[in-house]
């Protein structure tokens, strides 16, 4: 779900920097997942592709690998313009976010 070596590498293990980064990432990712749900429901493939691309990038950067993979699949659907399977992909992304939050949230006092 999460490769902790990424955060360790970025912050050198500094707990304050780690907490700040985790808080920022989880807060932003939560908003993006909601935005993607709205895009999927509205059939807005361009919006889905754009938001999923951004989420994939930030998730990759912090080692949130399951989110990055799920966002990548959803982004591919958006790019193709075919959102027929996007509801299932959106569910996978929401599960990935939940799993990631359960792992990373203890590192951030703001997201519990």
């Amino acid at each position: 779900v999460v490769d902790p070596s990424y955060l360790q590498d970025i912050t050198d293990g500094d707990p304050t920097l780690t907490a700040t980064l985790v808080d920022l990432f989880l807060g932003q990712a939560g908003g993006q997942v909601h935005e993607l749900a709205r895009g999927v429901a509205a059939g807005d493939a361009a919006s889905v592709a754009s938001v999923a691309h951004t989420l994939k990038g930030s998730a990759s950067a912090v080692g949130a690998q399951r989110i990055a993979a799920a966002a990548s699949r959803l982004g591919d659907a958006g790019h193709s313009g075919d959102l027929s399977g996007a509801t299932r992909l959106q569910s996978e992304l929401e599960l990935a976010l939940r799993a990631t939050r359960s792992i990373l949230a203890p590192r951030s006092p703001e997201v519990a």
Partner: protein
């Protein structure tokens, strides 16, 4: 770059990405090796900061508002030719990366690259840009 262009202290870095998480990740990763002169969220902001501060290196996201990394690279090349440019790509096969390289960008790096690799790549880009001379505005 001439001897008189060499400035003391750590290399000066500009980060341009519309994703606050990416800016924070990069700023944190590079905080000990570079002096961050500013963060931009779009191409216009990146160009303005580069022209004002003439950084040694700029790290540019491919997909930014205002024309993206390509327009930012073209503007920086013209307004701050001493600045070496590296682009951030989330997609290794992105055709845009090739166009950026043609616009004077030295190389590209994928998001999620380790601190050691990213640091070395930026230093190498500064050296390469200095060795070949500042880019000539088109």
């Amino acid at each position: 770059m001439t001897q008189s262009d060499v400035r003391p202290g750590p290399p000066r870095l500009l980060i341009a990405d519309d994703d606050p998480v990416m800016c924070s990740v990069l700023g944190t990763q590079l905080r000990t090796e570079f002096h961050l002169i500013g963060e931009a969220r779009d191409a216009d902001g990146a160009i303005a900061l580069a022209v004002e501060h003439q950084p040694d290196v700029a790290l540019l996201d491919v997909e930014m508002p205002g024309g993206g990394g390509l327009r930012a690279a073209q503007g920086i090349r013209e307004g701050s030719p001493r600045t070496a440019m590296v682009v951030l790509s989330g997609d290794e096969t992105d055709d845009m990366v090739l166009r950026l390289l043609e616009a004077g960008v030295i190389t590209y790096v994928r998001k999620g690259t380790s601190k050691a690799e990213l640091t070395e790549l930026l230093h190498a880009s500064i050296r390469a840009h200095g060795a070949t001379g500042a880019a000539t505005p088109p």
